[in-house]
Amino acid sequence: MGYVAVSGGEDAIRRSRELVDYFRLRGESSPIEVKQIREQQRLAVDKVMGEGALYAPDIAALALKQAEGDSVEASFIVRAYRATQPRRYISKPVDTTDMQVIRRISGAFQDIPGGQILGPTRDYTLRLIDFSLLEETGASVQTFLSKLGIDPSGVGDSAPFAKVVDLLRAEGLLEEVESNEGAPSDITRENLPFPLPRSAKLQTLARGETGAMMALAYSSIRGYGDIHPYLGELRIGTVPLYLPHPDGVQTVYAGRVLVTEAEIIAQYAEGEKGCTPKLTLGYGFCFGHNELKALSMGILDRCMRSRAPVKAPAEDEEFVLTHIDGVEASGFVAHWKLPHYVTFQSTLDRLRKSQRMGE
């Protein structure tokens, strides 16, 4: 008889867990070290830290190993771990002019004070399969590194850079955004109604899924919406993080985190009566080196502040913010794998009834 769902579930689940490891290991190659993933799958680790909303490179790398490289699954594992951690402090706001940059470019200005710094980018490489990587060995890596002559400590080689958008601001060309003073909301502790305060919006974007954000940002710049963005500045590097000292006066240095920041300049704010037209800013910021995400976030931040009477999908705050979370979206899309016998039976009942009515 076909009715087997009543029992056997426990054994099937246990065996299925074993099979997950079997499929990961059956090739019998030497196990990947977490350190290798952290260093050589750097961008995957950064994506998982951003979407998992936890700055912890080793844990993100471990999650990638566990998830066989699936970044959505790895981010989910990190997020679930994060939810068990206590929140002890709220850091002081980060000042990105203090960033020790590894890369810094502007698409809006040819020459920026401090200069454009290309840094590590694939933007100007040909996307050809590099067959020489098949031959990579420990010795070839050592030869490459010693020839390059880079000081691996990376300390002391970049002076603070002024922000490109500050030049526009000084000239009065940039519309000021609402003040963000006061305690920020915490979307992990409180579920707020729409429209969200700006801090909650930015938090939701900062842990959104890169692909989902890219698709929505793309829809806007392609034509569903009227945002015409320029890249004011994209900078990647480490910033110092400070915590408030319990004495309320001093601060405590907590370490440095690698971040990506994008400042998107969009054309005139839609004219409100009596206002001079100004440029407006969209802000993108995320953990690690993830340029597509920071750019998409900057575009979406700007889109969602559109005052257009008819909103395109990317301009609808609730639409954007409720659909970009990778953990929520993947879970619900995947839940259709669960049995729906009861509800489907109910649907069949309605359908048959309707068909009989039509006869």
Binding site: I13, A80, A83, H340, T343
Partner: protein, 295 residues
């Protein structure tokens, strides 16, 4: 002096808190549950932290259960009415390892029943709690996708668009096409989505002896139907609410003709057969029938 219960002693998995969640998170959820009970049918927002189980796979129901469960509770978990469904097994295992509570498949023995898509056939008592896993807590989602707008509609008790939706259904299809998650009015004030239970189960919510708690994890909402509360599925004077029709259907296991049944197709012949969706109740009916036959 107050006796302090050492909850950690009941956890089988070292390194995890009793019922997984930390006490602050549980306290927040219990406060939200109390509010939900005080305002029957009102959707109370809550923070809903991530769990090691995927969103949409029962995280709302889990958080409610984790917040109310104690070491003396007896737990039953069902999916589609069945205790052996893989997701029910997984959830029960997670709750059992982090609490050490006794579990059961017998509805009458349980103090807490966590369910997906069904209310047990056996009527529940006042000393039991039924916890629902809810995918979409918003009944108005059928007619309005924006939460900002549905919030206003609930505040103003403006359900006109839902009534028009049902009316147009009848005009277009001759029947209301909503199968499960049938919109129902609670305490003559709030419209709820009773979770995707079949219409068969909706009348059981009305003036029930049991507390019903609904948890939607991904959507971050908790709501409740307290005991002895009026629950009325939306219906018109000339078009009454109707449950699923199982006329001439008999369960091939227990022979019941008065329970909610799933259709199964026999391998090979493709013949259509029926079997109870509530597996534990079906087992009991089957055992009773055997006793009668033997006796």
């Amino acid at each position: 002096m107050r006796a302090v219960l050492d909850l950690e002693a009941f956890v089988k998995k070292p390194g995890y808190h009793f019922a997984f969640l930390d006490e602050n998170t549980k306290r927040e959820i219990r406060r939200k549950i109390l509010k939900a009970v005080a305002i029957p049918g009102y959707q109370v927002p809550f923070a809903s932290p991530e769990l090691p189980i995927a969103r949409g796979w029962g995280t709302g129901g889990l958080q409610v259960t984790m917040s109310i469960i104690g070491p003396a509770d007896v737990l039953k978990v069902i999916d589609q009415g069945c205790d052996g469904g893989v997701n029910a097994v997984n959830i029960r295992d997670f709750l059992q390892t982090t609490t050490g509570v006794q579990t059961t498949i017998n509805t009458a023995e349980a103090t807490i029943v966590q369910t997906r898509h069904r209310i047990p056939e056996q009527p529940m008592r006042r000393d039991q709690i039924l916890v629902f896993q809810v995918p979409i807590p918003e009944p108005l989602r059928f007619v309005e996708p924006s939460m900002a707008k549905t919030r206003e509609m609930h505040a103003e008790m403006d359900y006109s668009r839902m009534w028009v939706f049902l009316y147009e259904n009848i005009v277009k299809w001759g029947e209301i096409t909503i199968g499960a998650r049938y919109p129902s009015m609670v305490n003559r004030r709030y419209l709820i989505d009773p979770s995707p239970i079949p219409r068969w189960d909706v009348p059981k919510l009305n003036q029930s002896d049991t507390l019903h708690l609904f948890g939607a994890g991904r959507e971050k909402r908790i709501y409740a139907v307290p005991p002895y509360t009026l629950v009325e599925p939306l219906e018109f004077d000339d078009h009454r609410f109707r449950v699923e029709d199982f006329t001439d259907c008999r369960c091939i296991r227990c022979g019941s003709s008065s329970t909610y049944m799933n259709e199964i197709l026999q391998a090979g012949s493709g013949a259509k057969m029926y079997v109870c969706s509530d597996s534990s109740h079906c087992d009991q009916l089957k055992a009773a029938r055997r006793r009668n036959e033997d006796g």
